[in-house]
Symmetry: C2
Subunit: 258 residues, 2 copies
């Protein structure tokens, strides 16, 4: 029975895809069976794992959302990384919110998809788009837990209250299993005073919701994204590499039973 993690933040470019990718890969390298579901029409996670965008012949997340009773485990495509599969995104995801807008169950389309796949995996990661629309809310409703990547930047901090209140509203309505959010500080620059201050402020405000590990702003990450791979394979000794591994260990400890 898979543990499902929504990687979500409506602010753009905070490291959702990079984080979903690196946590998924490290969890797979730790021997768990992992599925990454790409919910963003940009398909960055799909491409990062060397998988082509989904099509009618090899369906993915879009097809799963529009025909949630047809989902087949073969849609979860194996990647070059052992134990890691991906449910690929595609361009039609860009129109899915409009397409589903008339459906009464439009916020509950992802749950049956995960139910259909959960027995084949130990962990499922959901890479969300930069918005709090139908796709992200589907992820929050379907997930067991949420991990929020947050850079120590003003606009990202400004946006946190909105994500938190969305989760609380879903909680009050009994629509989500998420009781505690996890925060991962991303793109940290501890030599920049303004950013250092904001990171400390985040830890003071949110206490142990904030993972101990934080991901530094790092050229190693940028390089790896250009090479369509995870930083563990290009620069295993980089700070970013070690911190994503530590973040994965924290994630597993907090969520796996025992």
């Amino acid at each position: 029975m898979a543990i499902t993690v929504a990687v979500s933040n409506q602010k753009g470019g905070v490291g959702k895809t990079t984080t979903a990718l690196h946590l998924a890969v490290a969890t797979a390298l730790a021997g768990r069976r992992v599925l990454l579901i790409d919910l963003d029409s940009q398909a960055n996670a799909t491409t990062a794992l060397g998988i082509p965008e989904a099509t009618a012949e090899l369906p993915g997340s879009y097809h799963a959302l529009v025909n949630s009773d047809d989902v087949s485990p073969r849609w979860a495509q194996a990647t070059a990384c052992p134990n890691l599969s991906v449910l690929a995104s595609s361009l039609e995801m860009a129109g899915v919110e409009l397409e589903l807008s008339g459906e009464t169950d439009r916020l509950h389309r992802l749950r049956p998809v995960i139910a259909a796949l959960a027995d084949s995996f130990d962990w499922i990661f959901l890479d969300c788009p930069p918005s709090l629309g139908i796709l992200s809310v589907n992820a929050l409703i379907a997930a067991d837990t949420v991990l929020v990547p947050v850079p120590p930047e003003q606009y990202a901090l400004d946006g946190m209250a909105r994500l938190t209140s969305t989760i609380e509203r879903l909680n009050d309505a009994g629509q989500t299993r998420i009781d505690r959010s996890m925060i991962l500080i991303t793109m940290a620059e501890n030599w920049a005073p303004a950013k250092m201050k904001r990171a400390l402020e985040m830890r003071r405000t949110h206490g142990d919701a904030v993972l101990v590990a934080e991901i530094p702003h790092s050229n190693a990450i940028d390089e790896a994204s250009g090479e369509r791979t995870a930083v563990y394979f290009t620069r295993p000794n980089a700070d970013a590499s070690e911190n994503y591994l530590r973040a994965t260990a924290e994630l597993i400890m907090r969520n796996e039973p025992g």
Copy 2:
């Protein structure tokens, strides 16, 4: 008769808001009457200019889109920066794409808004959200020109073709006046080889669509966003400051007649 610039890129966190803000402020400081229309429910541009989110009492971009015939010039609020006004965003923007989804003119709601305000301004900047949905397409249809902020990063480069083909499709359908896009390289890091290469590649591929000025990744910018102001007022001698001024000069030269 205002010149309208859509600042657009569906990739998140590429510097749309930072660029719309800094070009708008510099154009106003150069003596032009400028309006910044905040089309993003995150309201980062609104907040950056010290303006509260729009309400029924003091309406903004959301209200303008849903009642496009009611738009009053008083909705364009003066800011602390001389010659610069803003049409403020608000949380309801998050639902506007769904709200407008049934309307036949849902892609043409911004044009009458701009028509109602164009006589009061020389330049109008549109800060777009990180998507190619109804809001961004409204902006592309309503604008005279588009400026695309692009960091020299892989995912941002991957996304460019999609924005370009969206504009071409609108052009072929006779729905947009935009004939040439401008590209502004943002968050440049010329000492990082992978990023330097991508920036050069962008210039080779897109020729003089790419502005000469490029904006470096700079703590001065981060600092200024924390202080809710433009970098010209906090660190006028910073590289980022000078390059945004140069980018503004290029923008004006390319678009103002004579």
